[in-house]
Structures are given as C-alpha cells and as structure tokens.
Symmetry: C2
Subunit: 279 residues, 2 copies
Amino acid sequence: MKTFIIGTGLIGGSMALDIKSIYDDAVIFGIDAKEKHLDEAIHLGIIDQKATENDLINADLVIVAVPVDVALVILPDILNKIGEQTLVFDVGSTKNPICEAIENHPKRKNFMACHPIAGTEFSGPKAAIKGLYKGKTNIICEVEKTTFKLQEKAMDLFKKLGMRIRYMDPKSHDKHIAYVSHLSHISSFMLGKTVIEKEKSEQDIFDMAGSGFESTVRLAKSSPAMWTPIFKQNKKQVLKSLEEYIQNLSNFKDLLENDNYEEVYNEMQNTNRIKEILK
Amino acid sequence: MKTFIIGTGLIGGSMALDIKSIYDDAVIFGIDAKEKHLDEAIHLGIIDQKATENDLINADLVIVAVPVDVALVILPDILNKIGEQTLVFDVGSTKNPICEAIENHPKRKNFMACHPIAGTEFSGPKAAIKGLYKGKTNIICEVEKTTFKLQEKAMDLFKKLGMRIRYMDPKSHDKHIAYVSHLSHISSFMLGKTVIEKEKSEQDIFDMAGSGFESTVRLAKSSPAMWTPIFKQNKKQVLKSLEEYIQNLSNFKDLLENDNYEEVYNEMQNTNRIKEILK
C-alpha cells in the first residue's frame, strides 16, 4: 500500500508508524514543507522515502496532516493530482472550512473529512509514537460524500488502528469541539501566561507548582503554528465558548467577592459531575 | 513513635502509610470527624487505632490534615492538649491565617506550619497512597518559631519522606500559591462548568474529549469541602489572580475578535516558555 504522509509531524508520523506495522506491503512516502522534518522522519523510520506532489498519481492512500490553514490551500491541488482509486483523508481539528473548500471538487468522492481526537502537547516527527490512535475517537464528517469503496478502505484502516468511529456533520463538529478542545487550549495558555507574568522567578514557579498546575497548564506547551489557524477557522464558535467561560469565571469571582461561600461550594459540587462523565 | 493523624484523608492517610514503613516503632492513631473514615482507615491499614483529642498528651507527633477552616478552629485546642515534647504540624494550602491564629499560643514553639505540595484530585482514606511525598516540595513558614529540637525531628521525617524543603514567610506563600495552585483549580472548575452547561449529552462530551480536555479539567474533580475554605481564607490573593486571568482571557478574545492572528500567535509562543520552566 503506497501511503503518502503530507506533514510528517506528530499526527501524520504516528499514523505512518502504525500503518507500517499493520500492512506488510506498506511503503511510506513523506512530503513536508520542512526538509529537516523529512530527514528526521527518514532517520526515525517513520517514512521510507521523500516524495513530491507529482508522485501522488500512484498513491493508494494520502494522509493530509498539516496545519488547518495549509490544508485548505493544498487539498484541492492534492485531489487534482491523485489517481481514480486514491483515498485522501485529513486529520484537522476544524471540519466545516475544509468540507466547504472542496465541496464541488470533481474528486470530492475520493476525500474523507476526519478528526482523530488524539495527540499530545508536542509536535514534529520526534513526537510521533506508535499506538497513538488505539482506543481514541475518530470523528468523520459527511461520510456519505466519500465513495463506498473508499469508505470501506478507510474503515479497515481505522479499525486496525483501534479507533472508535463517530459520524457528525461538520458544523456540529466545529461547535462541540470548540468547547471540549479549543477552549481548553485557550484556558491553559492564559493560565500559563498569568502565572509567568506574576512569577518573575522561574525557580519559584517550579518549586511551588504541584501536579495540579502542571496538568492544567500542559496544553500551553502546544504549537502556536498549529493552533492559530484552528482558532481563526473556528473563530465564531471559539469566541462563543470563550465568552461563556469568561462569564462563568466572572460569576465565580463575584460570589467570592460577596462572601457567598455556599454558592462557591455549590458551583464546585455541581461541576464534580465531570468525574462520572469522563470515567 | 506515637503519631496522631487528625483527618485521615488523602494527605494525612498517605503520610501515615509512609511513616509506618519508615519508623519501626510507629504506632498510628486516627482522629476524624467522620467515623466512617476511621473505619476505612483501620481497614486499609492506614491507622492502627482510633483515638480522641484527650489522648494527645502522649503524642510524639500530631499531623493536622483537615480542611483549612477546621484547622483554624481545632489547632489551639490541640496545642492545649499535647505534651511538652510533642511536634504538631499542619499541611494546609493557606498559611497566613493559621500562623496568625496561634501566634500567641503558649505552645507555638511545638507547631510547624507546613504545606506539602502534593495530592491528587481524589479525597478520603481510599485515596491515600504510599510514596505520595517523594520528590515533592514542602513549604515551611516561620520555621524560626518552632523549637530547634522539634525542627530537627520534623526535618528528619521530611527527609525520609523524600521531600524538598523551601522556607517562606506565610504572606508570600499565600500570594504565590494563589497563582500556581488556587487559580488552576478555579480555571479547571469553570472550564468543566462551561462544557457541562453546553453539552447536554454526556456521551458526546466523553466521545469528543481528548486527553487535552481531560488533563485541563482534572482538578474540577476536587473536593468542594476542601477548596471552599481555601478560597475563603486566601480570598484577597485568589481574587487578584482571578482578575488577572480574566483580563488575559478577555484580551485574547479581543485579539481573536479583531482578527489579530499575529498577536494570537505571539501570545501562545510567549507562553510556550512554560515548557522550560516546568521541565
């Protein structure tokens, strides 16, 4: 199976590693704007060889794992260059813009819009790990627009990767993901910022920071190059979730200011329900 | 070593487990407002027997591991009841109120104000674990007010628990800890609240929530009974940190609203520094 990974970072690289161990006949070709990433990916055994977009005509599978702004630009051209039987899927954290971008493309049926909910706060080929997708959710949008045979091919791969499949329309995806993913990143980045601004002595932060702070601020290590275009593409939904978050924080502040500790307690107790939800 | 654990939850219970394995002659007595916790603590091998405050006269060591509002009330009475050679320390997340509460107590020299920065989002005896304190920071306030011999005794224990010691004055402790601990909890609780309010379908939250959301919202599982009095006691500092956090979030919202993606990028990149700080 000739597999092209466009963007050999954490997400694309991890998928390449699993595909190599699942399919005996897998040959992995890498395409990346950064030559350094390609060299690293070869060195780490993630890809077998470098390639260009002109080689896509021979691809069985193309995985587009680049920042979401780049995906919008390159996807139409990728579809222009693939063969009739090639399956292309993306892995981006926003789904409506990409579905709209190729809505009327003659090769729309070769494309599947995917969002595997997996990753870490790290990026680049060195961050790629085997088994990243096992037990994780893969959200697929507008599945009916992908030709049946290529749906089957994709499902076979996702099943072998150990993923759980959920189908959603792209607008609902973008709305919900703003709350459960995009907002978490902003909350974490701004927490990190607030603490760094205050604590001029980094040694003090390190010494006083328990595991609680570390886990809450973990996402603030994420790549700005990946996240800026996500916030841009999902601006409306992200702003809405952020407004509600700020409103809830302001309300909590008011309760504290007014010594309404009974309600402070209730606010926390009601949110403890997250234990059961995430169990 | 006759050790009394007042409050047999995660923090007190974990300390009891370690003390038992470190000191051959350790006998652990438990005092707890909840009879159920004492029964559990005996069943789990955390304490050897139940006790009352009237037994404290025979104590070598008393660990006060109750919510910070309860500690303020019971500590003077505990000090009244201990012997001349008894060491008492607390483990609370606020230090100024407790230091003030026993400032003029005749047994002030028997007390050491401590904050071991360790814990999980769980509580109660069942949450107690061995080795919780290994490699963790213990902040000690007003160490000079504890008699030298009891300082030595405490340091011997903390060393054997594997803790790193930092000395601070109580006001500085409360100010810094508002940023690196208390604020993280509020940020996490309100994130949990915002998502729960939005997502009426809990299955959807579960399916779409990646490890990023899970770690950012982890602290929202914490005990309201423990955290309400912490926010109350450290109200001024917590409000200040919360105001700054809301300000940073609002600023980020404005950048996004005004399509200033260059600054959105910069905000995140500047905060990426948290990687090096927490390494």
